[in-house]
Amino acid sequence: MTALIEIERLTKRFGTFTAVDDVSFSVARGEVLGFLGPNGAGKSTTMKMLAGFVTPSAGTARICGHDVQTDSLAARRTLGFLPEGAPTYPEMSVVGFLQFVARIRGYRGGELADRVEAAIGMTTLASVRLQPVETLSKGFKRRVGLAQSLLHDPPVLVLDEPTDGLDPNQKHEVRTLIARMAPEKAIVISTHILEEVEAVCSRAIVIAHGRVVADATPAELASRHPSGKLDDVFREITNAPPLAKAAA
């Protein structure tokens, strides 16, 4: 097992506030890592640093061995990233937007068309392919963002809340898609839906107040509470005040 994502002592401070505090972990090919934590815990900031968008205050992140700061273009070529809120250009059509991303990624001609079609197929966007993104429902918009991240079949996928705003059927489709891709890729997904972690993730990291407070398989994590429910464990470890935890 080779680690495709390596994060070492990553720290981000905004003024006096420490959003991400000394976070280290690595993700190997075949792993689906569920990134959990309350709002404001530092999940998105960690993912943004991993994607090279936010510059870390300290520490390093590597994707397929490429440092995201010093070798950022190489790192980004091997990364599929779905940013928080799945932003897309509202006036572009679904196909137009995906073609733009494919061109930036260096595809041309027939291969470009094939890539775009494959991404549309995987995310079942065929019915809205010519519609401007701004006219789509929240679930479709999310899937356009997802299609963009899958377009170049990257070895590393970092998805910030990929199923937010999807209906139960769509959630199921996206989870099936992630599970299908899992063997060849290293995938990180952030989510608030704990059942999702149990359904698709092979490993879960819980982050609170910018620190990693748990790193285990979903089953292990669930067994830490007498009830055996992930919800209870999550509440227990993320509600503790940060100072008490540091002392313990």
């Binding site: 943004k48 994607a51 090279g52 968008f53 936010v54 510059t55 273009l73 980004r76 070529r77 990364l79 990233f81 940013p83 928080e84 809120g85 932003p87 897309t88 250009y89 509202p90 006036e91 572009m92 137009g96 733009f100 991303v101 061109r103 930036i104 990624r105 260096g106 401007p132 963002g145 963009q148």
Partner: protein, 243 residues
């Protein structure tokens, strides 16, 4: 280079996918028409040239160019698409230049659509079309300068109104820097700055183009002016992108 053009093409397509392009071009042409023919006394002057047309163009650009640039980066930051754009495998410089080129190409299209003025003046008399050509080149460089200023200031805020007002104010400074009001005031108080103010003025440089003169100094001035503001643009985006 290819990547820069892909960014530019998407951006330019964005203008025409929204009413921005049509509104801008119609207002630009209407303003230039009214100003040239009515305020500029195009007919009463009885001279076959486009001097009134070129006299007004920096002022029209002063008002309209910031309307193009205000959304350039502010909108990306507001929508969050900046996170998408800057995590694709492109450099920040490519993104900045691509967006600038799109806005510049758009201004060039608007300028090209003023061709009826050239037809009119050629129909009525025998103008020096070489002078008209250099005037157009100068106008394009003025547009580029204002675009570079506006683009950099657009990166400094998420709010498009603030981006617009800041850009108009900054462009105004570079437009009036060589005017007597400014230079007289400066030579009375700080003489050293008077020459400097004339040196950085966009309007002053543009004047020589409208007289049919292309001097290397002026071309270098415009190139370094645009280059400086685009450099500032990348610095501001890099610094503020994640805020």
């Amino acid at each position: 280079m290819r990547t820069t053009l892909i960014v530019a093409r998407r951006e330019l397509g964005g203008y025409f996918a929204t009413p921005v392009a049509v509104v801008f071009i119609v207002i630009f042409l209407a303003l230039q028409g009214v100003l040239t023919f009515n305020l500029g006394n195009f007919f009463d002057r009885n001279q076959a040239d486009l001097v009134p047309f070129f006299n007004f163009i920096p002022w029209v650009f002063l008002l309209l160019v910031p309307a193009i640039t205000m959304r350039l980066w502010a909108e990306e930051r507001r929508l969050g698409t900046i996170e998408l754009l800057l995590t694709l495998p492109i450099s920040l410089t490519q993104a900045v230049i691509g967006k600038f080129l799109a806005a510049w190409a758009f201004c060039a299209i608007a300028l090209a659509l003023t061709f009826p003025f050239i037809i009119t003046v050629n129909y009525l008399g025998h103008p020096d079309n070489g002078v008209i050509a250099t005037g157009y080149l100068g106008a394009l460089l003025v547009a580029g300068s204002f675009l570079a200023v506006g683009s950099a200031l657009s990166a400094a805020t998420k709010n498009q109104v603030i981006a617009f007002v800041l850009a108009v104010a900054a462009c105004f400074v570079f437009a009036v820097a060589s005017y007597p009001v400014v230079t007289d005031f400066l030579s009375r108080n700080t003489p050293a700055l008077a020459g400097f103010a004339r040196g950085i003025s966009v309007a002053e440089r543009f004047q020589s183009f409208t007289r049919g003169v292309i001097s290397l100094r002026d071309v270098v001035y415009f190139a370094s002016f645009i280059g400086f503001w685009l450099f500032l643009n990348t610095v501001i985006v890099e610094h503020r992108k994640a805020d």
